[in-house]
């Protein structure tokens, strides 16, 4: 299993396995509808994107593309492991690796058409989803906010542009750059998965 930097312990695995069984109603595979049954997820504005992320084969660390209809426990665990906190004593290089993998996960969530860049349309969609619970005000302002954000990325990443240049979209490198200030490796974690690594998963 290609889980190099995201270790999960035995205890956590069994807990997650139970949860998996519960969600999939004791079947071997999980479907989108199973995740949609979770009550608490209803009020989450980016619900569909989260669910989609579980079925996106780019996140399975097996160099796949495209989305699948159902996933097994292995894939479930792989996706969950992105939310593991980095262990304390690691080198800078490892830390950077962890950072990149988490940001890649985020990037994949935004880049829905899998062309390697987040275009203006995709970014607008992201902001619209975030503000989807805010009614009319949200919809109208979303466009402006997305545009402003895109302008910012372009300015930071590319610098001065001639009037005829066109900024294709946010590439992964630019994405890394603009999110430099948000300490992803420590912020993107669930406490549940925060126990010391003892064993690689199966």
């Amino acid at each position: 299993m290609g889980l190099e930097q995201n270790y999960v312990s035995l205890e956590q695995i069994s807990l997650l396995h139970n949860r998996f069984k519960q969600l999939s109603q004791n079947e071997e595979t999980l479907r989108r509808d199973d995740l949609k049954t979770i009550q608490d997820l209803e009020s989450n504005p980016i619900r569909s994107q989260i669910i989609e992320a579980f079925f996106d084969s780019r996140n399975f660390q097996k160099d796949g593309v495209g989305s699948v209809e159902e996933i097994g426990f292995e894939e479930f665990l792989t996706v969950m492991s992105y939310f593991r906190a980095p262990p304390q004593h690691i080198t800078e290089e490892q830390r950077e690796k962890i950072r990149r993998s988490k940001l890649r996960f985020l990037f994949n969530m935004h880049d829905t058409d899998n062309d390697g860049t987040i275009t203006l349309e995709e970014y607008r969609h992201v902001v619209e989803e975030l503000l989807s619970r805010s009614g009319a005000l949200g919809r109208e302002t979303a466009k402006g906010i997305a545009d402003a954000a895109m302008l910012e990325v372009a300015s930071i990443s590319v610098g001065p542009m001639a009037p005829d240049d066109f900024y294709e979209g946010i590439t992964f490198e630019h994405f890394l750059k603009i999110l430099n200030g948000v300490e992803i490796e420590t912020n993107m974690h669930i406490r549940f998965l925060n126990m010391d690594a003892t064993v690689l998963c199966k």
């Binding site: 997650l16 949860r19 969600l23 995740l35 608490d40 997820l41 009020s43 989450n44 504005p45 980016i46 619900r47 989260i50 579980f54 969950m80 939310f83 906190a85 304390q88 985020l106 969530m109 203006l120 992201v126 902001v127 975030l130 503000l131 619970r133 805010s134 009614g135 005000l137 949200g138 109208e140 302002t141 466009k143 402006g144 906010i145 545009d147 402003a148 954000a149 302008l151 910012e152 372009a154 300015s155 930071i156 590319v158 610098g159 001065p160 542009m161 009037p163 240049d165 066109f166 900024y167 603009i178 999110l179 200030g181 948000v182 420590t186 993107m188 669930i190 406490r191 549940f192 925060n194």
Partner: protein, 779 residues
């Protein structure tokens, strides 16, 4: 009762009048308070006497009418207070004028030295210098500093590290208190110390007073070293929250010192008391905070007194907590933190600025006065120096702090994601400064129960001096030496904001999928509760429904609009939005008729317009009669000339750009530099096609104030202040179609920024490119 205190205080401040050499009679410090009252009464008597003689004089002989008379007694108290405040502020001013001094020595040290000098001076003259009276300190000097801290507390970091902060504040302070108290008692038992009468309780009380890290000192020193936010909030949060512990221990030991026996019940009651004091303080603060938020909902018609509500409610929270001996500091913090999000959504932009600046000003003055008075009190107070006791105090204090931090971090790191490194631990231990709160608490001790009060005072002053001077001065080079991470000065970008929100929702979702109710889940629930019920009650109008991202975005826009106006729409480029990229660079090549503008709600538009209106019509405003009840702000009075010069430069720049335009380029080209400054660049392709329409339509923004704008022009004509052209053009304002080239040159200066902003802010209407094209662009 109040009169007595009044006279007592006035007597205290006498010392400052070296030149005027006032009447005698500051109350003696130390353990004899009776003399003070007597003397105070005396001065009151003499005042009466003077009046009597005056009357007498009029009655008996026919004296000539006194043209000039000296009546100092009348204004003594306010005069002296003002003198002190003035002196403190001048000192502060002076320090920053001396070039390298403020970078080596922290301000607090300099102020204490000044206090020492002033105290020494007063003593030389023969007066008795005033002492930092505890009542003044706790009721007037401390609250502004704490309110400033509480109102601007970074909630996110604070709550993320709350567990750690509480550990340090509660457990750490308890450990310090008992360790220092216990060991000091041991020392007192030694024959060589010659201190047989200091009992255990006194030592414990002294230890508990000494153990509290002081927020004033921490703020004063940490603010100058710009350390990273985590460490700052840890030490600062600890200094705020340990107030509850200090209050409880203080009262506990004070009670016990008269009782002389402690039972298990007492200990248990002590614990209960602690919970009551801290939670009670927070509840009181929260109640007042909610009241203030609710009040601010209705202040839309009386904007002028909005800041007052913030201050008065907070002060009331502090005083109410003090009535019940609850923790006033925690009440103040809770009040400020609770009211802030709601109040800021309700009040006007100016009130926000007012609150910010008043808080900073008051806390700054308080801070300065506290340190100066510390210096003066050192010179004044009766000292009892005992080498062993003082030395032992200092030593144990430092050792206790270090041990406490190391031990606690060991435990805390088991629960933290971002572990505290040893560098962090060192800074936390080193940043445990003691300050004026400890001094005032010792000063409040009653002499009957604590015969060794003077010795305690001496010891505590020594510790304070040591921590402030030695630790305060050396922390900055140490921070550099250890390469501790410093505060990042970057402004929060909208991308970070979007992704922080996104991450919050993502993590909540993952927690839900896991079936694990972690703290994201609860935070989300709290947010939703807040949005659904609380915000509706406390925020006026439609802003109650405004999601956080939009609020952030509007704030940014507002800032940029203001920056644009401030720079005169001219040569200076605000840094918020890099001006190197404009909308067309990111828009897909297909022509889109849509506006790239955010649709601001009407209220926000109105607010932005108001800001622009007031800022752009300075001259007009000056002629309004000043009315105390409505403020017509005039913030840029001095910058008027500067603005004119800038505009001239800008016009020159425009002219140069025009020269490079060979073809009627798409409108977004030439002023792209200026326009791209704004987040929502209106010069999308769509506008080009609409230029067929007569430009006069775009008047929308200006029309409501049309007559006034016109008057501005009148003003110009009368003053003849146009720097470039002598001829003013009639209707050179925004309204008419530019029929002649000459007209454009003679535009009134505030037209261009107005135009730009008009374009950018509200109008779906076309923007005629008056200023960049030489030919009327009417295809």
């Amino acid at each position: 009762m109040e009169l007595k205190m009044f006279l007592l205080v006035s007597g205290l401040l006498v010392g400052s009048l070296v030149a005027l050499g006032g009447a005698s009679g500051s109350p003696a410090q130390g353990c004899t308070d009776n003399k003070g009252d007597g003397i105070a009464k005396n001065s009151h008597g003499t005042a009466k006497n003077e009046n009597g003689t005056a009357k007498n004089a009029n009655g008996t002989a026919k004296k000539s009418f006194p043209v000039l008379s000296l009546d100092y007694e009348n204004v003594r108290l306010p005069f002296e207070i003002s003198l002190w405040v003035l002196m403190a502020s001048l000192m502060k001013l002076g320090f920053h004028l001396i070039p390298r001094l403020s970078s080596i020595v922290p301000e607090s040290c300099l102020l204490i030295v000044v206090g020492l000098l002033v105290g020494g001076l007063i003593k030389l003259v023969g007066e008795v210098p005033p002492v930092l009276e505890s009542k003044i300190f706790f009721f007037y000097l401390l609250p502004p500093i704490i309110l400033d801290a509480g109102y601007f507390l970074p909630i996110r970091q604070f709550t993320e590290n709350l567990g750690t902060i509480l550990m340090f504040a509660v457990v750490g302070t308890l450990w310090n208190a008992f360790f220092v108290g216990g060991l000091l008692y041991g020392v007192c038992q030694l024959k060589s110390a010659d201190l047989p009468d200091v009992n255990l309780l006194s030592c414990l009380l002294f230890g508990s007073i000494l153990s509290a890290v002081d927020p004033v000192a921490v703020l004063a020193v940490f603010e100058e070293i710009h350390i990273n936010e985590l460490l700052h909030i840890l030490v600062f949060g600890e200094s705020l929250l340990n107030d509850a512990v200090t209050v409880v221990l203080y009262h506990l030991f004070e009670e016990f010192s008269s009782a002389n026996t402690i039972t298990a019940t007492d200990v248990f009651l002590g614990v209960v008391c602690f919970l009551v004091v801290s939670l009670g303080g927070i509840v009181v603060g929260a109640i007042y905070g909610l009241l203030a938020a609710f009040t601010s909902r209705f202040t839309s018609h009386t904007r002028v007194i909005e800041p007052l509500f913030v201050f008065v409610y907070s002060y009331m929270a502090y005083l109410s907590a003090e009535v019940f001996h609850l923790s006033g500091i925690m009440a103040l913090i809770a009040c400020g933190a609770v009211m802030r999000p709601y109040v800021e959504a309700n009040i006007s932009h100016k009130s926000h600025t007012t609150i910010k600046y008043f808080l900073k000003m008051w806390s700054s003055v308080s801070d300065t006065l506290i340190f100066i008075f510390l210096g003066v009190s050192t010179v004044a107070g009766p000292h009892e120096w005992n080498w062993i006791f003082v030395g032992a105090t200092l030593f144990f204090c430092l050792v206790a702090r270090v041990l406490g931090v190391i031990g606690l971090t060991f435990v805390i790191n088991k629960f933290r994601i971002v572990k505290l490194t040893s560098k962090d631990q060192f800074i936390i231990a080193y940043g445990g400064l003691r300050g004026a709160i400890a001094f005032s608490l010792v000063y409040l001790l009653k002499c009957e129960h604590f015969p060794r009060k003077n010795m305690f005072l001496t010891a505590i002053i020594t510790v304070i001096f040591f921590t402030v001077f030695v630790q305060g001065m050396t922390i900055r080079p140490l921070v550099d030496l250890l390469a501790v991470k410093k505060k990042q000065e970057t402004k929060r970008s909208i991308n970070e904001e979007i992704h922080t929100q996104f991450l919050d929702h993502l993590l909540t979702g993952i927690e839900d999928i896991c079936g694990h109710y972690g703290h994201h889940h609860w935070k989300d629930k709290l947010n939703r509760f807040n949005k659904k019920y609380v915000k509706k009650c406390l925020i006026a109008g439609e802003r109650s429904k405004e999601p956080q991202l939009i609020a952030f975005y509007h704030k940014m826009e507002m800032k940029q609009a203001i920056e644009l106006v401030e720079s005169g729409g001219g040569s200076k480029l605000p840094s918020a939005m890099p001006s190197t990229v404009s909308m067309q660079n990111i828009q897909p090549k297909r022509s889109s008729q849509e506006r790239a503008l955010p649709q601001l709600s009407k209220a926000r538009e109105e607010e932005i317009r108001k800001i622009l209106r007031t800022n752009l019509q300075k001259t007009r405003q000056r002629l309004h009669s000043y009315n105390r009840h409505t403020l017509i702000a005039d913030p840029y009075e001095d910058g008027w000339n500067e603005m004119l010069i800038r505009r001239k430069k800008m016009k020159d720049l425009e002219k140069k750009m025009k020269n490079y335009l060979t073809v009627p380029a798409p409108p977004s080209d030439s002023p792209s530099i200026a326009r791209a400054r704004l987040t929502s660049d209106p010069q999308g392709r769509g506008l080009k096609s609409a230029t067929k329409i007569i430009p006069s339509i775009k008047v929308d923004l200006v029309s409501p104030q049309n007559p006034e704008s016109f008057n501005v022009e009148d003003e110009f004509r009368q003053k003849g202040s146009q720097p470039k052209e002598s001829k003013e053009e009639d209707g050179g304002l925004t309204m008419k179609v530019p029929s002649s080239e000459k007209q454009k040159k003679d535009k009134t200066p505030d037209e261009e920024p107005q135009q730009r902003l008009m374009r950018c802010l509200s109008d779906p209407g076309p923007a005629a490119e008056e200023e960049e094209e030489d030919d009327p662009f009417l295809p």
